[in-house]
Subunit: 507 residues, 2 copies
């Protein structure tokens, strides 16, 4: 398939003339062939005005049409074949197995939303029958349904070139809700983005939808993204990325004449709590599953286990010792971009220099583009005194916090910011103290898990991938799983409508 | 019952020592007996820390306990008897019939949420069975439920001393969700607030709930409200009031270390569209129902019909002429507060002075505390050129916009901000052009109604009282009807939990 670096705007393609950039081979930092043209303000305007125009008809598509459209995007992505995986491998440095899995997740996600659309439950139809004879006033006939919120701007995520980029979870759920999508491609994988974007564009055409239903824009900096969020025709934003990036977009959205929701998934260190019984019975085993989770994808998961909480003592020593044995065996892994690799090493260096932090072990080092896993430890006293130890280090870095007792561990929890996940490692004997903590943990995170790690996010109806700020900007939302569709819907009530005037679903 | 001006903080009462104020008789501007003491920062802190403590147990109350608690608040409000209506009449200037109706709505609302709690649907339980044999990775067991968001700050509304104040819709839905509530009483009806607050406080005690489940604070200015929204233990805000007040609270909430949702219902002029067929067949009748809606409660409804759109011509002349006959018969009505009356007359004066606006007619004038209804007209050209003509004039003022044709009427719609309601007056012959407009109207408002006016908000499952900004800060929410409970909930996913560790509802 073609990769020519063109913008895909509403059914056609054009060269972006607002600067240009090339993809970078993550493992080597070398430029990849093909240069991508940045979108001009006029290109952004064209994409959003076409999206707005498309909204008029796309929102009214029947459920079957919309479901089939989502499925045809999935088929189109599969049809790209190995070229997609190969290009994504070179752009992101992620291994083949991971990318093949991610592709399966991406198309599975599109098909899950197709199913959700067909089921139609997301419309949340409600009917209150009128009663003309009610005293003192007649009861009106009221009917309610969810309507799509309007065109959505989606920002591709560096760490999920397929599952959270051009046709990822945000796009799939927005399209499922009835919202056209304008994607700002992540500059870390422009070729991958273009390949997928072309598949979406073809699916739009073959479904006979308005071409403005989908556009894909490239950007040499931040201007395109900022313009998209400020554009009056954009009515919601899906973003997965850094806290700084997310808060900047939230700021722009809040200054609009009509502020809009920004669903930004930003920052999480995903605390893991090792209870005493669990450490006593299987500290070494836990250490090995922990190390596997820590280094998965070079640690570049939103749900990477970055903070480990346990009561100090021999059992924790055993855990730390075993992790310290295993980590030096871990090879270096290419990180997603040279700048992510640099930010990772900056974060690691900060921990190394921190007077209250001790380096436990690290993985094998490679080139400057490759991340070497690193494990640190500190005391709960120090953690509580140094708020910066909560900062996310994006990559395979973990920090063990040694607590005096469960009470101090609870104090640490009280100081934590919102999280995507919290994991508990327990045995039967830990159940009572664990149960006591659950209400607190529910307030801290969107997903709680037992005897596992948060990496590996199931795409299903009961999944929550979101959590209190700053894990996500809106802690009432999830960006993974079928509930994600509700981010792009709002309820409308129809009072005393004649039957012929009612939307079909409410007749 | 006692009205002594005390703060009701977590099961006890105390004199607020941070300044004092008295209620004002709305009809005369005279001070009413009893002075109310403002809450100090320490009082706010005590209320929120007690609310936080109460949250631990209140959130875990069984559905039956919580439902019965809501019902006992309703009974307690009824048990106050006529004293409540009499005090509210003098504080707000609203007539007996309206306040008796509002009391019925308030207790009905509490009972509706009790029913909703018993039904339990708001928990949105979801179950995804695990599958250990799935390849390439085992499928986890995932279960989901909604949990309450945490303590909620509720701001009493001036225009609904019962249904949107101390035990109104925000409080009822927050308590139903499992959230303790700290109310900031509106200074326009402090005695009414105290009476209802005491009923809630007694219901908390007799249900054996943690006393921090409810507190009521008075404020001589804005400090208490600002502190509440900034307080880390407050996790959401319910507010009905002015756009300036709402946006100030949103700003405070967004600057917190953990920003929180502010459900502010702020500003709406509730456009009414008279289609040509409807005017042709019954312009005079529509004029009389319009005038009745305009002047209801001195026009002090969020859903007051402030903007009337129609195609210019004889039929519209007939409507305007009939309204001009009726309005001078309308007597003056006490407004909620002297400052609301002043703001109303300032708004009316701005319209009177506007070079592009013509005064059509006005109601009888009374004292400076009483509002006289007023109707104005302008052209669509002028309306489009002068954005300030969209500003809400809170009270019984309406503006007719004469459009050249339906196309220009649509241009006017395109320039409108978000609204709570839009009403359409039609006959059979108007159905086609009306149907064409519906998608646009759905984007503009939370409730659309046919051949009626938005005043009179049914409290029921299919009601939406909310709309795109600035009608509400969060256009995906409603503050009336059972869906209002979702504002105070967020989903949590439980992965691979042992049965005994699971919340009961998910076992």
């Amino acid at each position: 398939m073609t990769i020519n670096g063109n913008l895909l705007v509403a059914g056609s393609e054009k060269r972006g003339l607002n600067g240009e950039f090339q993809g970078v081979e993550a493992a080597t930092g070398k430029l990849l062939p093909v240069s991508f043209g940045g979108a001009s303000p006029q290109d952004v305007d064209q994409a959003t005005s076409q999206a707005w125009e498309a909204f008029g008809s796309y929102r009214e598509t029947g459920l079957e049409t919309r479901a089939a459209f989502l499925e045809s995007i999935a088929e189109g992505i599969e049809a790209i074949g190995d070229e997609l995986v190969v290009r994504a491998m070179s752009e992101t440095g992620l291994p083949r197995g991971r990318l093949e899995g991610e592709r399966a997740r991406t198309v599975g996600q599109l098909r899950l939303f197709a199913k959700e659309v067909r089921a139609g439950r997301f419309q949340e139809l409600r009917f209150d029958a009128g009663d003309a004879s009610r005293k003192p006033v007649a009861k009106p006939d009221l009917r309610l349904r969810n309507v799509p919120i309007g065109p959505v701007a989606v920002f591709g995520a560096s760490n999920f070139p397929l599952a959270f980029s051009v046709a990822g979870g945000d796009t799939a759920s927005a399209l499922a809700a009835g919202c056209p999508v304008v994607v700002k491609a992540h500059s870390a994988h422009p070729g991958t983005s273009e390949l997928v974007g072309r598949a979406v564009q073809r699916a739009v055409a073959s479904a006979g939808l308005h071409p403005g239903t989908f556009s894909l824009l490239f950007d040499t900096g931040f201007e395109v993204g900022q313009r998209l969020v400020a554009d009056s025709r954009i009515r919601a934003v899906g973003f997965t990325g850094s806290r700084r990036g997310g808060t900047a977009l939230i700021e722009i959205a809040s200054r609009r004449r009509q502020p809009i929701p920004v669903y930004a998934e930003m920052s999480s260190i995903n605390p893991v709590i090792f209870f005493p019984g669990a450490l006593k019975s299987r500290a070494a085993d836990i250490a090995s599953t922990f190390v596997a989770s820590l280094v998965l994808g070079a640690g570049q998961f939103c749900t990477n286990p970055g903070l480990l909480l346990a009561v100090d003592g021999e059992e924790l020593d055993t855990f730390v010792a075993r992790a310290a044995e295993l980590l030096p065996e871990v090879g270096p892994q290419a990180m997603l971009t040279p700048s992510i690799a640099k930010a990772y090493y900056d974060g690691v260096a900060k921990l190394e220099r921190h007077p209250e932090v001790r380096a436990v072990a690290s993985g094998k080092t490679g080139s400057e583009f490759e991340g070497a896993a690193a494990l640190f430890e500190t005391s709960a006293d120090a953690f509580l005194a140094h708020h910066e130890l909560q900062d996310e280090v994006f990559g395979a870095a973990g920090l063990v916090v040694r607590c005096k007792d469960l009470a101090q561990l609870e104090n640490v929890l009280d100081e934590l910011e919102g999280q995507l996940t919290i994991a508990l490692h327990i045995t039967d004997e830990d159940e009572a103290p664990a149960r006591r903590l659950i209400p607190k943990l529910e307030m801290l995170a969107g997903r709680l898990l037992v005897n596992g790690f948060g990496t590996g996010v199931e795409v299903s109806p009961a999944m929550v991938h979101g959590g209190p700020y700053p894990a996500t900007a809106d802690g009432r939302s999830t960006s993974v799983g079928t509930l994600a569709i509700y981010r792009f819907l709002r309820p409308v009530s129809y009072q005393d409508f004649t039957v012929t005037l009612l939307p079909e679903a409410l007749r």
